[in-house]
Assembly symmetry: C2
Homo-oligomer: 254 residues x 2
C-alpha cells in the first residue's frame, strides 16, 4: 500500500508520501511517490501517487514525455491547476483504458489515485485529488487536506489538529506525524518519507526533505509524540461508573 497526503493552508501547501510498495508480502519494494514538476518563478507543481504502480508510472512517463516533446499541451504550458487536473485525469483515463482489460483478466486491481498540488503565477495555491476514473475533487478551506492510499490510521490526528489556518510549518509536522502513526500501525506503509513544504507565492521549492527510517528527527518526534500521548492518557479523568450505572442504561444481558 501507500500513504500520501496533501495539506492546503492559508500560507502554502504541504505534500508528503511514504515509499513502500508491495505486491504481496514477498515482494516489498521502495519507490518514490512524490514528484516535483515545478518551474522556478512560474509554477509550483507536485504530484503524489498511489495504487497500481504500473499505471501511475505510465501517467508520469506520459506527462514527462509531453514536456520533453514540447507538446502544445503539457504540465508547463497549461494555465491553471484546474486545467492540469483535467489533463492528468485524461492521461489517467488513457492509461486505464489501455491496461485495465488485461489486468482484470487476472483479477489485478488497476485503481490508482493521484494528488496534485501547486500554484501557477497569477492564481492561488490549490490541491486536487484525481481518481482512477479521471474525475477529481479539490481541497477547500473547510476540508484543507486530501489523503490517498492507506488513509485511515493517519486521519484522526489531522482531524484533531489541522485547519486551513494552521501555520505551514506546523502543517508539515502534522503530515509527518500522520505518516508516522500510519507506519506504526500498518507495515504496508514505510520509509523513506518524502515531504515538500511550499510557501504560497514563492514559486520556488525551498523546503523539501527525505527522511529515512533512522533519521534522527523522525525518531525524535516519534518518541516525543508517544511520550506526550502517554502522559495525556494518564491525565484522563477516571470513569464514574456509578453515575452511568445509576442513569439506568439498559442492561446488557440477554
Amino acid at each position: 500500500m501507500t500513504y500520501c497526503l496533501g495539506i492546503l493552508t492559508q500560507t502554502g501547501l504541504v505534500m508528503a508520501a511514504d515509499s513502500r510498495t508491495n505486491a504481496g508480502v514477498d515482494y516489498i519494494s521502495t519507490y518514490r511517490k512524490l514528484f516535483d514538476f515545478s518551474i522556478e518563478g512560474d509554477r509550483a507543481l507536485f504530484f503524489c501517487t498511489s495504487g497500481n504502480l504500473s499505471v501511475t508510472q505510465s501517467v508520469l512517463a506520459l506527462m514527462r514525455q509531453a514536456i520533453a516533446a514540447k507538446s502544445d499541451i503539457n504540465l508547463h504550458t497549461l494555465p491553471s491547476l484546474y486545467e492540469i487536473a483535467r489533463y492528468v485525469g485524461g492521461i489517467m483515463r488513457h492509461v486505464q483504458d489501455e491496461n485495465r482489460p488485461w489486468l482484470e483478466k487476472d483479477g489485478i486491481d488497476s485503481q490508482s489515485t493521484i494528488l496534485l498540488g501547486g500554484q501557477i503565477r497569477g492564481t492561488a495555491p490549490e490541491l486536487f485529488m484525481i481518481y482512477s476514473q479521471g474525475n477529481f475533487i479539490q481541497a477547500s478551506k473547510e476540508k484543507p487536506f486530501l489523503q490517498i492510499g492507506e488513509a485511515k490510521y493517519g486521519k484522526p490526528i489531522l482531524d484533531r489538529v489541522l485547519s486551513f489556518h494552521t501555520p505551514i510549518e506546523a502543517a508539515a509536522k502534522c503530515a509527518l506525524l500522520s505518516i508516522d502513526s500510519t507506519m506504526i500501525s500498518n507495515i504496508s506503509v514505510g520509509p523513506p518519507i518524502n515531504l515538500v513544504m511550499y510557501e504560497a507565492d514563492s514559486f520556488k521549492v525551498r523546503h523539501q526533505l527525505c527522511l529515512n527510517i533512522d533519521a534522527p528527527y523522525l525518531t525524535q518526534i516519534r518518541k516525543q509524540w508517544e511520550r506526550c500521548l502517554n502522559e495525556a492518557f494518564e491525565q484522563m479523568p477516571n470513569i464514574d461508573w456509578e453515575h452511568y450505572l445509576s442513569r439506568g442504561s439498559e442492561p446488557l444481558n440477554l
Copy 2:
C-alpha cells in the same frame, strides 16, 4: 459500519462497542452490539458483533434459543472459552449457509465478525475473534487487543498506549478514546457507546456503562484529549530543513 474492540489485560477484560448501523446514508439506525451472557459466580461471557446485522442477530437468537431450551450444548454448559468459540463458529457457519446464497444474488455482503471475551471458573480470562467463516483467533499477551468493523482509525492510540500490563481501568479509558477517535473521523461509527470492564476472577459484572453522545464524561475526555494532543503537537521540535537538505537526498524533480 461498526467499531468494537476487546482488550485482554493481566487483570481482566474490556469490551466496547459503538451502536450505529447503516445500510446506506439514508438508512442509519442504532443497534446494540455488546451482549452479556454471564452467569454470576460461574462465568463471564461477552460478545460484540459487526457486519451483516441479520446474520449476527440470527447467531445471537440461536444462542439464546439453545439456552432457553436447555439444550445439552449451550453457552452456559460449555466448559471453556475455546469450546464456546467453536460453538459460536458453528452457529455462524449454519447462518451463513442458510443466508449467503440469497444475499449474494443481490450483491449483499453477508460477512460478519464476532468478538467473544470472558472467563469460565477454573480458567483464565480469554478473548477471541470469530470470523464469518466460523474459524477464530485468540488474543495473546503480545497482541492484547482485537478489533472488528471500522478498526483503522482507532488503532494508533491502542498501538501507542496499550499493553497486556496496562491496568484494566486505564484499558477501559483507552477503549473509549479509541472509539471516540473513530467517531470523529468516520460518521458510520456512532453513539451510544457500550462498555464493560470485567475484573479477572470476579465472575461478576461490576462495571458497565452506556454513554450517549451528550454524556458529560464523553465530552470531557474528548475535549481534554483534543487539548492534550494540540499541546503535545505544539511542543514538537521544528524540522531542521537544512540538515536534511544538506544530506543530499535525491531531488524530487523530474
